[in-house]
Symmetry: C2
Subunit: 312 residues, 2 copies
């Protein structure tokens, strides 16, 4: 007969056998990871880093808005899964030459944004760095497993929808946007969307993520339906590009992009009732490829030109 | 009669009133924050940033060990709360001039460490930076609320104990340590310790955190009982300081420092059975102040000299 395990050996065995682990419902590659902690309780987690000179400019932007952005980008990912935001931890790497009051204002911005967005700031880390000010914010969310929206649920024939208007975020919105937690909660509880993502890399790129994660589908967007923001139009007066290009390709709108069956999309538009705009901008096609249809009905390929980090 | 709320208005009200939020059991200031997600299910979260040139040297240390350290420091915080590690997300800021294979080896180190420590790597972020390579790792843990160990439970008369041996981590252990998850789990399930912290800033400083969080207590350590590591002794041959100084003040040991009532401490030592050493190093006193008692019985004040980030 095998020797009876001591309590310690048993615990050790339980740990090594991982009888008690969480179940990873959704791993790397969506807006958040989803981890089942207990029956009916799925926890969302997402982490984002923003770096001075890449995602903001401390010599130009108000320090409190920099902190606010760090919180907003992560809460936007929680919204994109239709989660409710629970808690935030924030790690700040501060350059030695950064004035103390500036660093404090960034941290105050983090705390104030958490308060504004109704989430608890529960912890963090502060370290020194020889490089630029860098903030990594991790948000924890909760979601009903049945209501969670991933990138992978889009179906051919779905209407493609967005909240708000698009483009030109560099003129200010990339700092002071409001993560669409309320709108996402309303969508998930009152309607039945199929897939969702937040627009962080530009509609063309983020839509392509949804389409490829949903099994290699395509999409046709209606150019006249795209909600081009005033900022995109203003930006277009300084750039060589049309305002529509900015609406389709600028990143950091932090709006929600989602799909729903066509009748459900019509119901969403009819019954929405939230001050934040929702718009049908096109539809999902069974064959891959991104197309843009102009008001005369001509179709042209839509290039993905959104911002990509670390591009050469 | 007040107008009946629409479903949307109700959801909006529920959110704004925060009837459904998590309960923050433990906020900023311990090794982890503890957030109650549902009945009997407490979630731990901790975030840590390590920066090239501050916490490691990419030109000197193996890249995979750098990734391993990023994971280990956060899991050590989960261990310090007696939690089980569930999931990790890791955000990496990569300098433009960093060779691709080096960045990849860091990330491989992160993934391999997660595998080795039995935790799922569920997400992350990769961004460019003009500064040094910076890794922020956030770990999610689960813990039985009744078994969670914070810094604040120490009592006058408690024995002070540590796992492993101490000091000289700069000679290697700060990179290749094993977070004490197994030992912490064994402690919390088989014994009844009062308070726990991981030794990241040096025993003197970390002990002082426990004492102040426990209501302004003090401690007397026995110099002859301190488990001085071979690395501390080796380091002392190059520095002006005694090996004991390194054991008491060097940071990044990532051992567990905990307190337990004296009879329980004796039971822990007698019944421990784990290959990792546990040692009683002193006792908690009702009056504040840190003292070191030598083998002749003479008491001298113990200065806190552990490493502090951002010190002038």
């Amino acid at each position: 007969m095998a020797k009876r395990k001591s309590e310690f050996e048993l615990i050790h065995w339980l740990r090594s056998e991982r009888v008690l682990p969480c179940r990873v419902r959704l791993g790397i590659g969506d807006d958040c990871a989803a981890v089942d902690l207990g029956p009916g309780e799925t926890c969302l987690i997402t982490t984002d880093t923003i770096v001075d000179g890449v995602h903001f400019r401390l010599d130009e932007h108000p320090a409190d808005l920099v902190g606010r952005k760090a919180v907003g980008v992560s809460l936007s990912d929680i919204a994109a899964m239709a989660g409710r935001a629970l808690a935030v931890v924030s790690a700040v790497a501060i350059p030695a030459e950064c004035p103390v009051d500036l660093a404090e204002r960034v941290c105050t911005g983090i705390a104030e944004a958490c308060h504004e967005f109704g989430v608890d700031l529960v912890g963090g880390d502060v370290v020194g760095t020889s490089g630029p000010l860098t903030i990594t914010t991790t948000a924890l969310g909760g979601v009903c497993p049945e209501r969670m929206l991933s990138r992978s649920g889009a179906k051919a024939g779905d209407s493609i929808m967005v909240t708000g208007d698009l483009g030109g975020s560099i003129l200010g919105r990339h700092l002071n946007f409001i993560p669409r937690l309320r709108e996402a909660g309303s969508l998930a509880t009152r309607f039945s969307p199929h897939a969702m993502i937040d627009v962080s890399d530009g509609v063309s790129r983020d839509l392509s993520h949804v389409l490829s994660e949903s099994g290699g589908l395509g999409a046709e967007l209606e150019s006249a339906a795209i909600p081009v923001s005033a900022a995109a139009r203003q930006l277009a007066t300084h750039t060589e590009r049309p305002a529509l290009w900015h609406a389709l390709n600028d990143g950091e709108d932090f709006e929600l992009l989602f799909t729903a069956a066509q009748p459900e999309a019509e119901r969403i538009v009819a019954q929405w009732g939230d001050p934040t705009l929702v718009t049908v901008i096109g539809q999902v096609t069974p064959e891959p490829g991104l197309w843009l249809r102009d008001p005369e009905g001509w179709r042209s390929p839509l290039e993905i030109e959104g911002y990509e980090h670390l591009r050469p």
